[in-house]
Amino acid sequence: MEPARDPAATQSPAGALTVLGFETSCDDTAAAVVRRDADGAVRVLGERVVRQDAAHAPFGGVVPEIAARAHVDRLDAVARRAMADAGVGFGDLDAVAATAGPGLVGGVMVGLMTAKAVALAHRLPLVAVNHLEGHALSPCLSEKVAFPYLLLLVSGGHTQILMVRGVGDYQRLGTTVDDAAGEAFDKIAKLTGLGLSGAAVECAATAGDATRFALPRPFRGAPNPDFSFAGLKTAATRAYQSLDSPSDADKADLAASFQAAVADVLADRVRTALALPAAAEASAVIVAGGVAANAVIRAALTAAAEDAGRPLVAPPLKWCTDNAAMIALVGIERLRRGESDQLDVAARPRWPLDPAAAPALGGGKKGPKA
């Protein structure tokens, strides 16, 4: 069943690998073509992303069925544009890669089925990619960082600290036991009417007093670098609801107080992780995910990393958030190791990157979520 690679169809320069990647696991429909040259240099030849914010905004969160419908309507056109931008044809590809999980499975299937079709049509290897592995390797799209490194992934869907020892070698040091950090930011934005996403909280916080509301710092000082944001979210909600017709100044103070609490917790958890023997050899701290765009949080993380003698590296925002370039990159790295997947590979809504890590979230009979 393994589709045989047809060497005659491959026209990458000698020793180079060119891979098309798809990302459809949440609300971004994305395709990218990435090439790794023989000397190891990685270039994104073309990438396109269509976001769905407007479609989900009225509902106050991503609606899986709406997301899946949008992905299937758009992905082929998005891929066509990414290929045109890259100036390559399907016959120039060495493999096709797609996110196969974890994520919203209806959307994941759209990207995975499109990738299978391309693989079958052109007898290319298929690489079914773990979305978290994409984030773990995303710094390699823009930075020269040496393995091993400590990765803090903070987005609307995930909050984890991983030791990235190499391609395919990940150790989860900590994870959230309830909400993701970005999810908590979004909740506060909606609660206060500041906006629909966490970015609105950062914007309002610039004018606020971060000491006005004494909010909790869940897990600060705990020996394991895990996270919890549900209690902080509830405390912020109660503080807001205790206000009599909140003014803009009240909202700004709450936003600033909440943001300071999240920044404190993230920095403390990174300090804790860096002090673990498992992280002793980390060359740098990499931060990825949409929350990494927050300047106050970035400053707190920079201080935490530098106190431990490590640089903080944040990839450009377009590769920090969900993107297809990181998925194509994982495809390249797996291909270099002679790894690819069969055409019967299934989408996986749950797929922990470190299978040895104990489940902290969604650890029911279906196993850990991520």
């Binding site: 509902f59 609606v63 899946a68 419908r69 082929d76 089925m113 499109t114 079709a117 049509a121 299934a346």
Partner: protein, 218 residues
């Protein structure tokens, strides 16, 4: 040059290859779920059995529903991925049209109806293969009344999983529950890609409520 027809709209996961002047080749499995896993291997099998390469395909047709939302997307994404990478047209075939084409030749009208749960069917009435109006989702009793009104006393035979729900004195259930792949491929061969895009046809809007429980599609 060959046609590939795909159906993942219901429990069946099927692929058919049609080559000019030769017998059709079919591969199918009946699955509850897991079409995302089985479809590509089934397509690979049917192409091998037909002795053709993917590059020999001139067109890909796919059942676009009404049916399982997820199943339909699996088939449509795959069909569109083939069309994109082989630079060939894709067409979408409505499962109600395929069902009507699959009913036995009987005089009068044919109604294709799918059970869409919650006591509702989605139905479309046909005269000699031509549809009389667009697909409509309705409570079974309302569908029966609407069909009777349009039939105006003419006999009506029915096909599809919704047929038992609308069986009545004037609507005879033919017992056909699933469309015939060969008949559907005929439609796929004849369809105009501009008029019949490979776009899912959903029986219902997404199940999502606006804050305050407001139905955005009401």
């Amino acid at each position: 040059m060959a046609l590939l027809f795909l159906d993942t709209s219901g429990p069946r996961c099927a692929a058919l290859v049609r080559r000019p002047g030769r017998d059709d080749v079919v591969a199918e499995e009946v699955l509850g779920r897991g079409h995302d896993s089985r479809l590509a291997p089934i397509v690979q099998t049917v192409l091998e059995q037909a002795g053709i390469a993917p590059a020999d395909l001139a067109r890909v047709a796919v059942a676009v529903g009404p049916g399982s939302f997820t199943g339909v997307r699996v088939g449509v994404a795959f069909a569109r991925g083939l069309a994109l990478s082989l630079d060939i047209p894709s067409v979408g075939i409505n499962t109600l049209d395929a069902l009507a084409a699959s009913a036995p030749d009987t005089p009068g009208l044919v109604v294709a109806a799918e059970d869409v749960k919650r006591g509702e069917v989605i139905w479309r009435l046909f005269a000699d293969g031509a549809p009389l109006g667009a697909p409509d989702r309705a409570a079974a009793a309302d569908a029966v009344a609407a069909i009777a009104g349009m039939a105006n006393g003419a006999p009506v035979s029915s096909a599809g999983t919704g047929a038992p729900l609308i069986a009545s004195q004037s609507i005879m259930d033919t017992g056909v529950r699933i469309f015939d792949l060969v008949r559907a491929a005929d439609l796929g061969e004849a369809a105009d890609p501009a008029a019949a895009p490979a776009t899912p046809f959903y029986a219902r809007p997404p199940d999502a409520k606006l804050p305050g429980g407001v139905d955005p599609w009401a």
